[in-house]
Amino acid sequence: MEKTGKNLLVKLREQWRDNPLFSTGIALLVMVIVQTAALSMNTSFDSFGSWAQNWLQNWVSLLRGNAGIGIIALGMTFVIISGGIDLSVGSVYVTVGAFIMVVLNVSGGPLAGLGGIPAILIGLIGAVLLGGLLGEGNGLLISNGRMPPFIATLGSMQILRSVTQYFMKAQRTELPEAYKSIARLEIGGQQLMPIIYWAVLAAAMYIISRKTTFGRYVFAIGSNERTTRLSGVNVRAVKRRVYALTGFLVAIAAIIQTSRIGSMDYASAGSGFEMDAIASVIVGGTSMSGGRGSIIGTVFGTLIVAVMNNLLNLIGVDPYLSAAFKGAIIIGAVLLQRKDKS
């Protein structure tokens, strides 16, 4: 009995050391327990039913609120595993959002005459194409233009946001009701659609990362680009597709968000998204130097950051301090994941 207990302990310690997913998972579990405790203290214990109702409600709104960042972080995971970085996600987000707002404007937009579903379809397809194209632009600069990803996306980040703000100075828009239901459609009295989109995309990205040549090439390039090229892989094409895929996912996040909120503040929308997405990826155990990481880790990472924000909210910490906690989580996570190499 004692022996099996000891073995289990040794195994757990090995897992903790060698498997980044295990340690992030444990960290998430601990945070969820603390969050549940904090939530329980805020609610009165009338009945278990009302407590559970409360708990569930809190989780639904937490997941829904973070679906956008969660989806962007999926793309960012591929970018970082490939050895790159994408600072332009927040700007692509606001640009695609602005595009949707203009195209779908019920009162006087270019598609106002079409009305209803065809206009929405055109708007949606246009939005994901635009997102993909902007990403492809980044990819072109990085792969064919041989620019460091940091510089290329720093440039496109500035350009996109500034141009969008210039054109969208005093725009008031009204979105069609059918469009809003993309995110607001209720299932069992709850707006679950954003969570479902996130879950489906995460599952798809997980499969891509493990079972497709593209996904495995991304890992190979991040670990050793030369060897990958010398193995007959068109490295440039793969890199372009990584950034295009990220642009595509950012566009989906922008669709969900505009549909959910119904408006967009061009001055601040999407600002800081790049840092939030990078934080989720890093907390999830993906290596900043490329080659190592996972989609599941990123989902965990997004949740850890989200649960922490929720927790700070529940225990009434001043919002000005929340960024400090986020910073501490990032540093703490990387310290935990650091492998002992003495």
């Binding site: 499969i207 079972k211 497709t212 040549t213 495995r216 890992f219 190979a220 991040g222 670990s223 050793n224 030369r226 060897t227 990958t228 090229r229 010398l230 193995s231 007959g232 892989v233 068109n234 080659g291 190592r292």
Partner: protein, 492 residues
């Protein structure tokens, strides 16, 4: 200073890596430490270097018992370790590299460049080399980098220098330069330990030898009383072939032909052709352009002029993906840089080229990939634990076999080997030679690039010698000798 190690034992868990090893080296002596990868050479030297403690046994310096608890203690006792991968910073000058971590300062606390340069020059004078301490390390060729490492050891007043495969990345004349240096130091009473796989070099420069196999000492003695065949036999435990491996074969159709290939500053007007079942060798000295030439043929070397024909049809190769689709394969030099992907497992490293062929409805069928890899792994006698282990868990020779496996599964028409046995032990070398010859026998056109004349002579049906990017001469099997190859390679 005389070093003696007596009855050294070391084990990692249940695995005995060293059993009762004794080893010694005295002033003015060069002693070879021989053995295949995994024989225990590195462990023994790590004990001497203070990196690992011994389980049992004693280390004596000038007859006094000594224990090194860390590398610094070993260094201050006068033992310097020069690793296989050079530890120099390319973007610093020679003197900065030599004094790194021990910089001399002026009284005001600034770096004293003049004094450091003076001390470097003094060491260079003693070594009889002409180097400017202020030159950047980046500008030096590999042999001078090695010499700077040795100079650094002397600067620290090391009286015992351990060199781990110092000649791996050097060309023949560079090797001669390093050897001359070693003989010079020997005459000044420095003791040296020379770790190498290259037995000819051991014969050329060493006085005594010790051979380890599987953690035991299997032989030691004077170099003058042995020969290459005997040493090789000790290392692998059975007879080793040194004669030509070539067999007369019926050659097939012409597979690859190049006409007037040129790329600025790399190679000029190179023409050759290779037939199915033929092993064509390319050799020369550093800067001969053969590596650049075949990188271009494989589509990874940038634009070139001239025309390539594959099975008689003109082709232009723009990138590596296209090269693979055309049926050209390339086993690169510098395995660590170009051959392996360190964050991926053995299976993925051994199959990346053929992934697209195993895609079923968009997804890779790992089951198929695994089956195909297993066949090659068995063929190549790859020694591994699980296919899911990282590639880094394998020895150098087995890593190289994994790199080979990914190309064998691709089934190329032409397979180019660039320095295929670099940093590979004797046993694995023979396995790789067998694979090359099997491929040729199976109708593949094989091109072997090598700086080792012996390798070319043993393997190839025909050899092309290059000099400064041009074809200097072509030798049929009967006329290949080390002297003739060297004559052409030096431009004579």
């Amino acid at each position: 200073m005389t070093l003696e190690m007596r009855g050294i034992y070391k084990s990692f868990g249940a695995n005995d890596v060293l059993r009762d090893i004794s080893f010694s080296v005295g002033p003015g002596e060069i002693c070879a430490l021989l053995g295949e990868n995994g024989a225990g050479k590195s462990t023994l030297m790590n004990i001497l270097g203070g990196v690992l403690p011994a389980d049992r046994g004693t280390v004596l310096l000038d007859g006094r018992e000594t224990v090194f608890r860390n590398p610094a203690e070993s260094l201050s006792a006068g033992i310097a370790f020069i690793h296989q991968e050079l530890n120099l910073v390319n973007d610093l000058s020679i003197y900065e590299n030599m004094f790194i971590g021990r910089e001399l300062k002026t009284r005001a606390g600034f770096l004293d460049g003049r004094e450091m340069c003076a001390r470097c020059s003094e060491v260079f004078r003693r070594m009889d080399v002409d180097l400017d301490p202020r030159a950047m390390v980046r500008e030096l060729d590999a042999s001078y980098k090695q010499i700077v490492e040795i100079a650094r050891a002397l600067l620290m007043e090391a009286s015992i220098i351990i060199m781990d495969e110092p000649t791996t990345s050097l060309t023949d004349p560079e090797i001669d330069r390093v050897f001359e240096m070693m003989r010079n130091l020997k005459s000044q009473g420095v003791a040296m330990v020379f770790i190498s796989h290259k037995l000819r070099e051991v014969m050329a420069v060493c006085d005594r030898y010790t051979v380890l196999r599987d953690g035991s000492m299997v032989a030691d003695g004077k170099v003058s009383e042995t020969d290459v065949d005997e040493l090789a036999k000790h290392m692998v435990g059975h007879e080793v072939r040194t004669q030509s491996l070539r067999k007369e074969r019926e050659l097939g159709e012409e597979v690859l032909r190049a006409e007037g290939l040129s790329r600025e500053r790399s190679f000029e007007d190179v023409s050759f052709c290779v037939r199915a079942g033929e092993v064509l060798g390319f050799t020369g000295l550093l800067g001969d352009g053969r590596s650049e030439l075949f990188q271009s043929v494989f589509g990874s070397g940038g634009k070139y002029q001239g025309q390539l024909y594959l099975e008689g049809r003109p082709v232009a190769v723009h990138d590596t993906k296209q090269a693979v689709e055309l049926g050209i394969g390339y086993v690169p030099r510098d395995r660590k840089e170009n051959g392996i992907i360190k964050d991926m497992d053995i299976l993925e490293n051994g199959s990346i080229v053929t992934w697209p062929r195993h895609v079923r409805s968009g997804l890779i069928s790992w089951k198929q990939v695994r089956e195909a890899f297993r066949k090659q792994a068995e063929n190549l006698r790859i020694k591994m634990g699980s296919e899911e282990d990282l590639i880094g868990s394998l020895s150098g020779g087995n890593q190289q076999k994994v790199v080979l496996a990914k190309w064998l599964n691709a089934g190329p028409k032409v397979l180019i080997f660039d320095n295929p046995t670099q940093g590979v032990d004797v046993g694995a070398k023979e396995d790789i030679y067998d694979t090359v010859l099997e491929l040729a026998a199976g109708g593949v056109a094989v091109i072997v690039l090598s700086s080792e004349a012996q390798e070319i002579i043993r393997l190839c049906d025909r050899a092309i010698v290059m000099y400064h990017g041009r074809v200097q001469g072509e030798l049929p099997a009967g006329e290949m000798t080390e002297q003739e190859i060297m004559r052409l390679a030096t431009g004579a």
